[in-house]
Subunit: 108 residues, 2 copies
């Protein structure tokens, strides 16, 4: 995971993944790390940001196109992780596919 993203040029695409975890790790930490590594090697991957507190986790990944988001969703190892996510790791989650229209940043 990295800090804030500053160098992208809209339009690009964002996947907002919001989740509430089940109790216990159940192999989640290990798999999450693997999925970040794997995602970052996919064609069209730009960046990923993540934060989790005791209420909620939000991970936003940024991509060049809707096609590259689709390819990542259908990646075989990712599909296995998605199934484990439903059966073990998440109480609930939402996924939103977005087109980033504009961005700006502040550096203090």
């Amino acid at each position: 995971m990295s800090g804030t993203v500053k160098t992208l040029k809209p339009p690009y695409y964002a996947v907002i993944f919001t989740s509430q975890r089940t109790d216990g790790d159940n192999g989640y930490g290990n798999m999450a790390k693997k999925m970040v590594d794997l995602a970052s090697k996919q064609s069209g991957f730009l960046e990923m940001e993540s934060a989790r507190d005791d209420q909620l986790g939000i991970t936003v990944s940024y991509w060049e196109s809707l096609e590259t988001i689709k390819s990542w969703k259908e990646n075989l190892a990712h599909k296995v992780a998605q199934e484990k996510g439903k059966s073990e790791w998440y109480k609930n989650y939402s996924v939103r596919i977005c087109r980033v229209e504009r961005d700006y940043s502040f550096e203090g």
Copy 2:
């Protein structure tokens, strides 16, 4: 702050606000609460989700239109908070204005 959003109908709009805080509270907690209250009363506001850990904070707010996002950005009390954000609360932040094209969710 609430849990995951489930009942919206795309297209709608998301503002992804990613930030790293300065040390200490400096009145931040109080103002953050006020801004959530105020945002939720704005025309076009749909929902807000937030997570922060020791590395990063991500807040995503959802809106009916780009116009309602603009109005909130220009809200006078919000402008005061934005200035304090730059001078006191944030080391850096990024704002991304997005159009949500598609969403889906899982409830375990």
